[in-house]
Amino acid sequence: MRGVWAQVDGVGRLVTTNVTYTTRLLLMIYVSIRATFFDQAQGLRTIFSVVSSQIYFTGWQAMPLITVLALASGGVVILQSSSNLNLLGGAQMIGNLLVVIVVRELGPLLTALVVVARSGTAVASEVGNMRANREIEALESMGINPLSYIVFPRMLGGVVSVICLATYFVLISLLGGFVITKLIHDIPFNFYVDSLSRAVAFEDIWLFLLKNAFSGMIIFVISCYQGLSVKKSPTEVPIVTTQAVVKSIIYVIVFNMSVTTLFYLHELVRIGVL
């Protein structure tokens, strides 16, 4: 009996810890947006120069890696889809399959994982080191709110970068992947484009934007939060960086899965199955 209670207690603690953590993240998002737009004497021009640097580091510099990943995954998905659909006699369904796999799922998730690996770690360690080097304290002493100067620009830059990178991923994946596949498997281009354009719907676009915008937000808020949790010592920096990566991945996957589940439940309700 005691073992059961201990397990219930453990689950309760886990839920409480995660709810508290999520609440703190949401509070941080709210306060940083509020500090940026509503506080007096905050220099928006300076803040937006930090946003553009963040977009450069997160978006522009990640493009080579995204290109390779998109070509590889796009090529594999198109090759497998077309050959298997041909065998089953449903070649015209290739567009639908690609939209479901690449646009709705693979694009947002792989882009988010690349951004976590490249920029989430960078931001967490940068902010952590800033804390250890008393740079955050220095900003406060100059009357600069770290939430508007550090957190908000990284959050906004992250959201913009993830959306752009995911769009780029999908384009490269679908078009570049097609070119690669064309070398080993004959698919008429017109047929391919026509199938794709018929498959893309309005819901796919908003699902894509929703997933990427929130993934960007999640990654950079968690990274900043973990970085700011450093107290004094530089030895804390690698610890918070690892925590930022783990938490970002978990939150991004849980969010993407939740959105996908809700979307399909909605679809089932719409067609009258549920």
Binding site: A41, Q42, M130, E137, S141, M142, G143, Y149
Partner: protein
């Protein structure tokens, strides 16, 4: 030269009322301190030994370290009751120089100095540039202006860290070990700059935490002693205690 602090409320009075400060769960650095800090002069923050809380006192005065209990008041207004925005006008009138660190490592020394002026639009970019270059030239670090803090020697970082609060033309200047690692010539030039500000009616209250008796011997000042978690003015006889050691 612009005088931004004139836009902000004048700092006339600084006091503690039953103030207690402790780091996390450690023993209190200050306990139940009630003290009116001297104003309109140089004030030497002294202690018998290191770790007594001199830097902590300056951080509390700068509003960087929230006190654990009691009140820290500026012009009879409790700093603990103010939000970041409410405290901002006071904060922009307070210049705080760190004993170490405190420069943004992803920016050049020049950008570090320009940041508060441009961020708060305390003066035009042209005026800010002129002012920053003049101050850097004065203390001989202009040639390092495009270097990042990690690329220059400690003394250059220290000078940059000392100059930044002066650029904001503060009313209250808090200097944590200003002469640490610097030659006497540079330190004297720095205090000449403070004197220039004082002549313009700025940097009225200057608090210096240091063990440099030679430097303080050159300045007419009052002393505040930190002993056993309490603050004492010179008049309390604490000077004798230091001399007897």
């Amino acid at each position: 030269m612009s005088q931004p602090s004139k836009q902000f409320p004048e700092i006339k009075q600084l006091s503690f009322e039953h103030m207690t400060f402790r780091y996390d769960n450690s023993a209190p650095v200050f306990e139940d301190v009630s003290f009116d800090l001297p104003t309109d002069q140089y004030v030497w923050i002294r202690s018998l030994h290191t770790g007594a809380g001199r830097s902590t006192l300056l951080q509390i005065m700068a509003g960087l370290a929230p006190i654990t209990a009691g009140k820290y008041s500026i012009n009879d207004k409790n700093v603990g009751d103010m939000s970041f925005e409410e405290f901002l006008p006071y904060r922009l009138s307070i210049g705080y120089s760190f004993d170490f660190g405190g420069l943004l490592h992803n920016q050049s020394l020049y950008d570090n100095m320009m940041l508060p002026l441009l961020y708060h639009k305390l003066c035009t970019p042209v005026e800010a540039e002129r002012k920053v270059k003049m101050y850097m030239q004065e203390l001989g670090i202009l040639r390092y202006k495009d270097q990042r803090p990690s690329a220059v020697q400690g003394s250059v970082r220290k000078i940059a860290c000392l100059l930044r609060p002066l650029l904001m033309s503060p009313q209250l200047l808090l200097l944590d070990d200003p002469s640490l690692g610097l030659g006497q010539e540079v330190v004297l030039k720095y205090f000449d700059l403070i004197q220039d500000l004082r002549r313009d009616g700025l940097a009225k209250h200057v608090y210096i935490s240091t063990f440099d008796e030679k430097l303080m011997g050159l300045l007419e000042h009052q002393e505040v002693f930190i002993d056993n978690g309490q603050l004492h003015a010179t008049s309390d006889g604490y000077e004798k205690k230091v001399v007897s050691l």
